[in-house]
Symmetry: C2
Amino acid sequence: MKEQHISISVIKRLPRYYRFLGELKKQGFTRISSGELAGRMNLTASQIRQDLNCFRGFGQQGYGYNIEMLYDGIGEILGIDKPTSAIMLGVGKLGVVVAENMNFQKYGFNLVGAFDVDEEVIGKEVAGIKVLSLDELEAFCSEHKPKAAFMCVPSAAAPELSERLIGLGVTGFWNFSHYDIGIKHPEVSVENVHFGDTLMRLSYKVKNS
Amino acid sequence: MKEQHISISVIKRLPRYYRFLGELKKQGFTRISSGELAGRMNLTASQIRQDLNCFRGFGQQGYGYNIEMLYDGIGEILGIDKPTSAIMLGVGKLGVVVAENMNFQKYGFNLVGAFDVDEEVIGKEVAGIKVLSLDELEAFCSEHKPKAAFMCVPSAAAPELSERLIGLGVTGFWNFSHYDIGIKHPEVSVENVHFGDTLMRLSYKVKNS
DNA sequence: TAGATTGTTAATCGATTAACAATC
DNA sequence: TAGATTGTTAATCGATTAACAATC
Protein backbone atom coordinates (compact mmCIF):
# COMPACT_ATOMS: atom_id res chain seq x y z
CA MET A 1 0.00 0.00 0.00
CA LYS A 2 2.27 2.79 -1.25
CA GLU A 3 0.84 6.16 -0.35
CA GLN A 4 2.41 9.35 -1.61
CA HIS A 5 0.41 12.34 -0.50
CA ILE A 6 -3.30 11.70 -0.33
CA SER A 7 -5.48 14.78 -0.48
CA ILE A 8 -8.08 15.38 2.17
CA SER A 9 -10.82 15.32 -0.49
CA VAL A 10 -9.97 11.73 -1.29
CA ILE A 11 -9.86 10.70 2.36
CA LYS A 12 -13.26 12.21 2.93
CA ARG A 13 -14.71 9.98 0.25
CA LEU A 14 -13.12 6.74 1.40
CA PRO A 15 -15.67 5.87 4.10
CA ARG A 16 -18.44 6.15 1.56
CA TYR A 17 -16.63 3.85 -0.88
CA TYR A 18 -16.11 1.50 2.02
CA ARG A 19 -19.80 1.43 2.84
CA PHE A 20 -20.88 0.84 -0.75
CA LEU A 21 -18.31 -1.87 -1.28
CA GLY A 22 -19.31 -3.57 1.96
CA GLU A 23 -22.89 -3.59 0.77
CA LEU A 24 -21.95 -5.01 -2.63
CA LYS A 25 -19.82 -7.64 -0.99
CA LYS A 26 -22.70 -8.63 1.27
CA GLN A 27 -24.92 -8.93 -1.79
CA GLY A 28 -22.49 -11.42 -3.25
CA PHE A 29 -20.85 -9.38 -6.01
CA THR A 30 -17.22 -10.13 -6.67
CA ARG A 31 -16.11 -7.56 -9.24
CA ILE A 32 -17.14 -4.09 -10.31
CA SER A 33 -16.00 -1.55 -12.89
CA SER A 34 -15.46 2.13 -12.19
CA GLY A 35 -18.38 2.89 -14.50
CA GLU A 36 -20.79 0.62 -12.69
CA LEU A 37 -19.73 1.88 -9.28
CA ALA A 38 -19.97 5.46 -10.50
CA GLY A 39 -23.58 4.86 -11.47
CA ARG A 40 -24.45 3.43 -8.09
CA MET A 41 -22.67 6.12 -6.11
CA ASN A 42 -23.51 9.04 -8.32
CA LEU A 43 -19.91 9.92 -9.10
CA THR A 44 -17.93 9.96 -12.34
CA ALA A 45 -15.98 6.88 -13.34
CA SER A 46 -13.01 9.12 -13.81
CA GLN A 47 -13.10 10.32 -10.25
CA ILE A 48 -13.29 6.80 -8.91
CA ARG A 49 -10.29 5.74 -10.93
CA GLN A 50 -8.34 8.80 -9.83
CA ASP A 51 -9.26 8.24 -6.20
CA LEU A 52 -8.39 4.60 -6.12
CA ASN A 53 -5.24 5.10 -8.10
CA CYS A 54 -3.80 7.21 -5.28
CA PHE A 55 -2.98 3.94 -3.60
CA ARG A 56 -1.97 1.77 -6.58
CA GLY A 57 -2.69 -1.75 -7.44
CA PHE A 58 -6.39 -2.03 -6.87
CA GLY A 59 -7.71 -2.34 -10.39
CA GLN A 60 -6.97 -4.58 -13.31
CA GLN A 61 -7.28 -3.40 -16.88
CA GLY A 62 -10.06 -5.06 -18.80
CA TYR A 63 -11.55 -6.49 -15.63
CA GLY A 64 -12.26 -3.75 -13.11
CA TYR A 65 -11.91 -4.02 -9.37
CA ASN A 66 -12.19 -7.02 -7.14
CA ILE A 67 -14.69 -5.96 -4.51
CA GLU A 68 -13.36 -7.90 -1.57
CA MET A 69 -9.79 -6.85 -2.21
CA LEU A 70 -10.80 -3.23 -2.65
CA TYR A 71 -12.95 -3.30 0.46
CA ASP A 72 -10.19 -4.75 2.56
CA GLY A 73 -7.67 -2.38 1.01
CA ILE A 74 -9.68 0.70 1.88
CA GLY A 75 -10.25 -0.66 5.37
CA GLU A 76 -6.50 -0.97 5.75
CA ILE A 77 -5.89 2.55 4.48
CA LEU A 78 -8.40 3.87 6.99
CA GLY A 79 -6.68 1.85 9.67
CA ILE A 80 -9.75 -0.12 10.64
CA ASP A 81 -7.71 -3.25 11.08
CA LYS A 82 -5.56 -1.63 13.78
CA PRO A 83 -7.88 -0.22 16.43
CA THR A 84 -6.94 2.99 18.22
CA SER A 85 -7.72 2.98 21.92
CA ALA A 86 -10.11 5.72 22.91
CA ILE A 87 -11.80 7.16 25.96
CA MET A 88 -15.13 8.87 26.27
CA LEU A 89 -15.37 12.17 28.09
CA GLY A 90 -18.83 13.00 29.31
CA VAL A 91 -21.31 10.19 29.76
CA GLY A 92 -24.56 12.11 29.52
CA LYS A 93 -27.50 11.12 27.37
CA LEU A 94 -25.62 11.55 24.12
CA GLY A 95 -22.54 9.79 25.39
CA VAL A 96 -24.55 6.80 26.53
CA VAL A 97 -26.36 6.42 23.21
CA VAL A 98 -23.15 6.74 21.27
CA ALA A 99 -21.22 4.36 23.51
CA GLU A 100 -23.89 1.69 23.54
CA ASN A 101 -24.92 1.81 19.91
CA MET A 102 -21.71 2.28 17.99
CA ASN A 103 -19.65 -0.72 17.10
CA PHE A 104 -16.35 1.11 17.49
CA GLN A 105 -14.29 -1.84 16.36
CA LYS A 106 -15.99 -1.60 12.99
CA TYR A 107 -14.59 1.89 12.55
CA GLY A 108 -11.07 1.46 13.86
CA PHE A 109 -11.44 2.22 17.54
CA ASN A 110 -11.55 0.47 20.84
CA LEU A 111 -13.30 2.18 23.72
CA VAL A 112 -11.26 1.53 26.86
CA GLY A 113 -12.49 4.12 29.34
CA ALA A 114 -15.24 6.58 30.19
CA PHE A 115 -15.18 9.63 32.45
CA ASP A 116 -17.64 12.04 33.97
CA VAL A 117 -17.87 14.57 36.78
CA ASP A 118 -21.42 13.71 37.81
CA GLU A 119 -21.56 11.57 40.96
CA GLU A 120 -24.81 10.08 39.65
CA VAL A 121 -23.02 8.62 36.68
CA ILE A 122 -19.63 7.69 38.13
CA GLY A 123 -19.45 4.01 38.96
CA LYS A 124 -22.17 2.99 36.52
CA GLU A 125 -21.45 0.74 33.58
CA VAL A 126 -21.76 1.93 29.99
CA ALA A 127 -21.10 -0.38 27.07
CA GLY A 128 -19.42 -2.74 29.49
CA ILE A 129 -17.13 -0.02 30.84
CA LYS A 130 -17.17 1.42 34.31
CA VAL A 131 -17.49 5.19 34.32
CA LEU A 132 -14.65 6.79 36.28
CA SER A 133 -14.35 10.17 37.91
CA LEU A 134 -12.48 12.76 35.90
CA ASP A 135 -10.04 12.93 38.81
CA GLU A 136 -8.78 9.53 37.77
CA LEU A 137 -7.97 10.65 34.24
CA GLU A 138 -4.23 11.14 34.75
CA ALA A 139 -3.74 7.78 36.42
CA PHE A 140 -5.81 6.01 33.80
CA CYS A 141 -4.02 7.61 30.88
CA SER A 142 -0.55 6.92 32.17
CA GLU A 143 -1.54 3.27 32.47
CA HIS A 144 -3.60 2.77 29.29
CA LYS A 145 -2.26 5.51 27.01
CA PRO A 146 -5.40 6.14 24.96
CA LYS A 147 -4.75 7.91 21.67
CA ALA A 148 -8.23 9.27 20.98
CA ALA A 149 -10.93 11.06 22.94
CA PHE A 150 -14.65 11.16 22.26
CA MET A 151 -15.74 14.56 23.51
CA CYS A 152 -19.34 14.38 24.70
CA VAL A 153 -19.00 17.10 27.33
CA PRO A 154 -20.76 20.48 27.41
CA SER A 155 -18.96 23.06 25.28
CA ALA A 156 -17.91 25.05 28.33
CA ALA A 157 -15.85 22.14 29.62
CA ALA A 158 -14.13 21.43 26.33
CA PRO A 159 -11.30 24.01 26.21
CA GLU A 160 -9.71 23.09 29.52
CA LEU A 161 -10.36 19.38 29.12
CA SER A 162 -8.90 19.17 25.64
CA GLU A 163 -5.72 20.88 26.88
CA ARG A 164 -5.47 18.33 29.62
CA LEU A 165 -6.00 15.43 27.23
CA ILE A 166 -3.42 16.69 24.77
CA GLY A 167 -0.99 16.92 27.67
CA LEU A 168 -1.75 13.27 28.40
CA GLY A 169 -0.89 12.14 24.90
CA VAL A 170 -4.25 12.17 23.13
CA THR A 171 -3.79 13.01 19.46
CA GLY A 172 -7.27 12.53 18.02
CA PHE A 173 -10.61 14.03 18.95
CA TRP A 174 -14.08 13.00 17.94
CA ASN A 175 -15.71 16.21 18.94
CA PHE A 176 -19.41 16.58 19.67
CA SER A 177 -18.91 19.76 21.65
CA HIS A 178 -18.91 23.20 20.17
CA TYR A 179 -15.38 24.29 20.67
CA ASP A 180 -12.72 24.37 18.05
CA ILE A 181 -10.01 22.16 19.44
CA GLY A 182 -7.96 22.34 16.27
CA ILE A 183 -7.37 26.09 16.35
CA LYS A 184 -5.01 26.16 19.31
CA HIS A 185 -3.58 22.78 18.41
CA PRO A 186 -3.07 22.26 14.70
CA GLU A 187 -0.95 19.22 15.51
CA VAL A 188 -3.88 17.10 16.71
CA SER A 189 -6.53 15.47 14.52
CA VAL A 190 -10.13 16.50 15.00
CA GLU A 191 -13.38 15.28 13.51
CA ASN A 192 -16.34 17.40 14.47
CA VAL A 193 -19.89 16.14 14.72
CA HIS A 194 -21.95 19.30 14.81
CA PHE A 195 -25.62 18.48 14.59
CA GLY A 196 -26.54 22.13 14.52
CA ASP A 197 -24.31 22.87 11.54
CA THR A 198 -25.84 20.12 9.44
CA LEU A 199 -29.33 21.23 10.41
CA MET A 200 -28.60 24.80 9.38
CA ARG A 201 -27.25 23.64 6.05
CA LEU A 202 -30.41 21.62 5.56
CA SER A 203 -32.44 24.68 6.45
CA TYR A 204 -30.65 26.64 3.74
CA LYS A 205 -31.09 23.91 1.16
CA VAL A 206 -34.77 23.38 1.86
CA LYS A 207 -35.41 27.08 1.54
CA ASN A 208 -33.35 27.54 -1.63
CA SER A 209 -34.35 24.91 -4.14
CA MET B 1 -30.23 40.13 0.67
CA LYS B 2 -29.42 39.74 -3.01
CA GLU B 3 -28.06 36.28 -3.72
CA GLN B 4 -26.75 35.33 -7.12
CA HIS B 5 -25.40 31.80 -7.13
CA ILE B 6 -23.83 30.80 -3.87
CA SER B 7 -21.42 27.90 -4.07
CA ILE B 8 -21.88 24.93 -1.82
CA SER B 9 -18.44 25.53 -0.30
CA VAL B 10 -19.59 28.88 0.99
CA ILE B 11 -22.84 27.49 2.40
CA LYS B 12 -20.94 24.80 4.25
CA ARG B 13 -18.95 27.45 6.05
CA LEU B 14 -21.87 29.66 7.03
CA PRO B 15 -22.92 27.72 10.15
CA ARG B 16 -19.42 28.01 11.50
CA TYR B 17 -19.36 31.77 10.93
CA TYR B 18 -22.72 31.91 12.60
CA ARG B 19 -21.43 30.10 15.67
CA PHE B 20 -18.34 32.26 16.01
CA LEU B 21 -20.28 35.46 15.54
CA GLY B 22 -22.88 34.38 18.08
CA GLU B 23 -20.10 33.78 20.55
CA LEU B 24 -18.51 37.17 19.87
CA LYS B 25 -21.85 38.85 20.21
CA LYS B 26 -22.44 37.15 23.54
CA GLN B 27 -19.05 38.35 24.68
CA GLY B 28 -20.11 41.91 23.96
CA PHE B 29 -18.10 42.70 20.84
CA THR B 30 -19.77 44.97 18.35
CA ARG B 31 -17.45 45.08 15.36
CA ILE B 32 -14.78 42.86 13.82
CA SER B 33 -12.46 43.01 10.84
CA SER B 34 -11.92 40.17 8.41
CA GLY B 35 -8.33 39.93 9.65
CA GLU B 36 -9.31 39.58 13.27
CA LEU B 37 -12.03 37.04 12.50
CA ALA B 38 -9.63 35.13 10.27
CA GLY B 39 -7.21 34.80 13.17
CA ARG B 40 -9.89 33.47 15.47
CA MET B 41 -11.35 31.04 12.96
CA ASN B 42 -8.12 29.96 11.34
CA LEU B 43 -9.09 31.14 7.87
CA THR B 44 -7.62 33.78 5.59
CA ALA B 45 -9.02 37.29 5.70
CA SER B 46 -9.38 37.08 1.96
CA GLN B 47 -11.63 34.06 2.16
CA ILE B 48 -13.85 35.70 4.73
CA ARG B 49 -14.27 38.78 2.58
CA GLN B 50 -14.99 36.66 -0.48
CA ASP B 51 -17.50 34.55 1.39
CA LEU B 52 -19.38 37.43 2.92
CA ASN B 53 -19.31 39.41 -0.26
CA CYS B 54 -21.45 36.76 -1.96
CA PHE B 55 -24.38 38.38 -0.23
CA ARG B 56 -23.44 42.06 -0.42
CA GLY B 57 -23.68 44.86 2.03
CA PHE B 58 -22.29 43.32 5.18
CA GLY B 59 -19.01 45.15 5.53
CA GLN B 60 -18.00 48.75 5.62
CA GLN B 61 -14.67 49.93 4.32
CA GLY B 62 -12.36 51.24 6.98
CA TYR B 63 -14.55 49.79 9.72
CA GLY B 64 -15.08 46.09 9.22
CA TYR B 65 -18.23 44.18 10.00
CA ASN B 66 -20.91 44.88 12.53
CA ILE B 67 -21.21 41.64 14.44
CA GLU B 68 -24.88 41.77 15.26
CA MET B 69 -25.88 42.71 11.75
CA LEU B 70 -23.67 40.03 10.27
CA TYR B 71 -24.95 37.42 12.69
CA ASP B 72 -28.55 38.23 11.92
CA GLY B 73 -27.81 38.39 8.21
CA ILE B 74 -26.27 34.94 8.12
CA GLY B 75 -29.16 33.62 10.19
CA GLU B 76 -31.52 35.00 7.60
CA ILE B 77 -29.57 33.48 4.73
CA LEU B 78 -29.69 30.12 6.46
CA GLY B 79 -33.41 30.58 6.98
CA ILE B 80 -33.26 30.27 10.74
CA ASP B 81 -35.82 33.00 11.16
CA LYS B 82 -38.42 31.05 9.19
CA PRO B 83 -38.70 27.58 10.75
CA THR B 84 -39.38 24.59 8.54
CA SER B 85 -41.82 22.10 10.02
CA ALA B 86 -40.32 18.68 10.45
CA ILE B 87 -41.23 15.20 11.62
CA MET B 88 -39.08 12.57 13.22
CA LEU B 89 -39.13 9.04 11.85
CA GLY B 90 -37.97 6.44 14.31
CA VAL B 91 -38.04 7.26 17.99
CA GLY B 92 -35.43 4.82 19.27
CA LYS B 93 -32.61 5.73 21.61
CA LEU B 94 -30.95 8.04 19.13
CA GLY B 95 -34.20 9.69 18.12
CA VAL B 96 -35.11 10.40 21.73
CA VAL B 97 -31.75 11.96 22.56
CA VAL B 98 -31.83 14.09 19.44
CA ALA B 99 -35.44 15.17 19.91
CA GLU B 100 -35.04 16.07 23.55
CA ASN B 101 -31.68 17.77 23.41
CA MET B 102 -31.72 19.76 20.21
CA ASN B 103 -33.23 23.19 20.23
CA PHE B 104 -34.58 22.88 16.70
CA GLN B 105 -35.89 26.42 16.62
CA LYS B 106 -32.32 27.61 16.98
CA TYR B 107 -31.44 25.91 13.70
CA GLY B 108 -34.45 26.75 11.58
CA PHE B 109 -36.79 23.87 12.29
CA ASN B 110 -39.92 23.11 14.20
CA LEU B 111 -40.58 19.53 15.20
CA VAL B 112 -44.29 18.88 14.78
CA GLY B 113 -44.59 15.10 14.76
CA ALA B 114 -42.89 11.81 15.59
CA PHE B 115 -43.53 8.32 14.26
CA ASP B 116 -42.50 4.80 15.06
CA VAL B 117 -43.62 1.22 14.40
CA ASP B 118 -42.84 -0.08 17.88
CA GLU B 119 -45.99 -0.49 20.02
CA GLU B 120 -43.83 0.13 23.08
CA VAL B 121 -43.01 3.62 21.88
CA ILE B 122 -46.25 4.67 20.19
CA GLY B 123 -48.35 6.86 22.45
CA LYS B 124 -45.42 8.05 24.55
CA GLU B 125 -44.38 11.67 24.64
CA VAL B 126 -41.03 12.83 23.32
CA ALA B 127 -39.99 16.47 23.51
CA GLY B 128 -43.61 17.32 24.19
CA ILE B 129 -44.84 15.44 21.13
CA LYS B 130 -46.95 12.32 21.15
CA VAL B 131 -45.39 9.51 19.12
CA LEU B 132 -47.78 8.26 16.46
CA SER B 133 -47.95 4.99 14.59
CA LEU B 134 -46.43 5.05 11.14
CA ASP B 135 -49.88 4.09 9.87
CA GLU B 136 -51.01 7.59 10.68
CA LEU B 137 -48.30 9.21 8.56
CA GLU B 138 -50.46 9.95 5.52
CA ALA B 139 -53.26 11.51 7.54
CA PHE B 140 -50.82 13.56 9.57
CA CYS B 141 -48.92 14.83 6.55
CA SER B 142 -51.98 15.83 4.61
CA GLU B 143 -53.03 17.90 7.60
CA HIS B 144 -49.70 19.38 8.75
CA LYS B 145 -47.65 19.29 5.53
CA PRO B 146 -44.20 18.88 7.09
CA LYS B 147 -41.37 19.82 4.74
CA ALA B 148 -38.52 17.98 6.44
CA ALA B 149 -37.94 14.53 7.90
CA PHE B 150 -35.43 13.49 10.52
CA MET B 151 -34.57 9.93 9.64
CA CYS B 152 -33.64 8.02 12.78
CA VAL B 153 -34.84 4.63 11.53
CA PRO B 154 -32.74 1.52 10.86
CA SER B 155 -31.11 1.63 7.45
CA ALA B 156 -33.25 -1.22 6.17
CA ALA B 157 -36.40 0.85 6.63
CA ALA B 158 -35.03 3.96 4.96
CA PRO B 159 -35.48 3.23 1.23
CA GLU B 160 -39.20 2.51 1.35
CA LEU B 161 -39.91 5.15 3.96
CA SER B 162 -38.07 7.91 2.15
CA GLU B 163 -40.07 7.14 -1.01
CA ARG B 164 -43.24 7.42 0.96
CA LEU B 165 -42.19 10.71 2.54
CA ILE B 166 -41.21 12.24 -0.78
CA GLY B 167 -44.62 11.25 -2.08
CA LEU B 168 -46.13 13.12 0.84
CA GLY B 169 -44.31 16.33 0.02
CA VAL B 170 -41.19 16.11 2.17
CA THR B 171 -38.30 17.87 0.44
CA GLY B 172 -35.54 17.79 3.04
CA PHE B 173 -33.95 14.92 4.94
CA TRP B 174 -31.72 14.98 7.97
CA ASN B 175 -30.45 11.51 7.55
CA PHE B 176 -28.94 9.42 10.32
CA SER B 177 -29.54 6.16 8.49
CA HIS B 178 -27.14 4.58 6.09
CA TYR B 179 -28.98 4.84 2.85
CA ASP B 180 -28.31 7.32 0.15
CA ILE B 181 -31.62 9.07 -0.27
CA GLY B 182 -30.22 11.59 -2.71
CA ILE B 183 -29.21 9.09 -5.39
CA LYS B 184 -32.69 8.15 -6.53
CA HIS B 185 -34.00 11.63 -5.81
CA PRO B 186 -31.60 14.39 -6.77
CA GLU B 187 -34.47 16.85 -6.38
CA VAL B 188 -34.64 16.56 -2.59
CA SER B 189 -32.17 18.04 -0.11
CA VAL B 190 -30.26 15.70 2.15
CA GLU B 191 -27.85 16.25 5.00
CA ASN B 192 -26.27 13.08 6.24
CA VAL B 193 -25.04 12.50 9.77
CA HIS B 194 -22.89 9.43 9.48
CA PHE B 195 -21.08 8.81 12.74
CA GLY B 196 -19.18 5.92 11.25
CA ASP B 197 -17.80 7.98 8.39
CA THR B 198 -16.41 10.63 10.69
CA LEU B 199 -14.90 7.98 12.94
CA MET B 200 -13.18 6.32 10.01
CA ARG B 201 -11.76 9.63 8.88
CA LEU B 202 -10.46 10.19 12.39
CA SER B 203 -8.95 6.75 12.34
CA TYR B 204 -7.10 7.61 9.16
CA LYS B 205 -5.89 10.94 10.50
CA VAL B 206 -4.70 9.55 13.81
CA LYS B 207 -2.75 6.86 12.02
CA ASN B 208 -1.23 9.19 9.41
CA SER B 209 0.22 12.22 11.13
C1' DT C 1 -7.04 -11.73 -30.93
C1' DA C 2 -10.75 -8.38 -29.74
C1' DG C 3 -13.14 -6.14 -26.09
C1' DA C 4 -13.17 -4.10 -21.87
C1' DT C 5 -11.50 -1.29 -18.62
C1' DT C 6 -7.88 0.58 -16.11
C1' DG C 7 -3.89 3.95 -15.24
C1' DT C 8 -2.43 8.27 -16.36
C1' DT C 9 -1.84 12.52 -18.75
C1' DA C 10 -3.91 16.73 -20.33
C1' DA C 11 -7.83 20.05 -20.18
C1' DT C 12 -11.24 22.22 -17.56
C1' DC C 13 -13.33 23.96 -13.91
C1' DG C 14 -13.83 25.96 -9.37
C1' DA C 15 -12.09 27.57 -5.08
C1' DT C 16 -8.62 29.95 -2.54
C1' DT C 17 -5.23 33.43 -2.04
C1' DA C 18 -2.96 37.71 -3.16
C1' DA C 19 -3.06 42.37 -4.44
C1' DC C 20 -4.77 46.79 -4.68
C1' DA C 21 -7.97 50.42 -5.86
C1' DA C 22 -12.22 52.22 -3.77
C1' DT C 23 -14.11 54.32 0.16
C1' DC C 24 -15.56 54.85 4.79
C1' DT D 1 -7.11 64.36 5.77
C1' DA D 2 -4.81 59.86 6.92
C1' DG D 3 -5.53 55.21 8.28
C1' DA D 4 -8.02 51.26 8.09
C1' DT D 5 -10.33 47.93 5.89
C1' DT D 6 -13.46 46.42 2.57
C1' DG D 7 -14.95 44.97 -2.30
C1' DT D 8 -13.24 43.12 -6.24
C1' DT D 9 -10.15 41.76 -9.80
C1' DA D 10 -6.27 38.91 -11.08
C1' DA D 11 -3.11 34.99 -10.02
C1' DT D 12 -2.52 30.63 -8.08
C1' DC D 13 -3.59 26.42 -6.66
C1' DG D 14 -6.09 22.13 -6.39
C1' DA D 15 -9.72 19.08 -7.70
C1' DT D 16 -12.57 17.15 -11.18
C1' DT D 17 -13.43 15.63 -15.75
C1' DA D 18 -12.15 14.09 -20.31
C1' DA D 19 -9.41 11.49 -23.32
C1' DC D 20 -6.69 7.87 -24.70
C1' DA D 21 -2.77 4.79 -24.69
C1' DA D 22 -1.49 0.66 -22.01
C1' DT D 23 -2.75 -3.86 -20.90
C1' DC D 24 -5.30 -7.57 -19.01
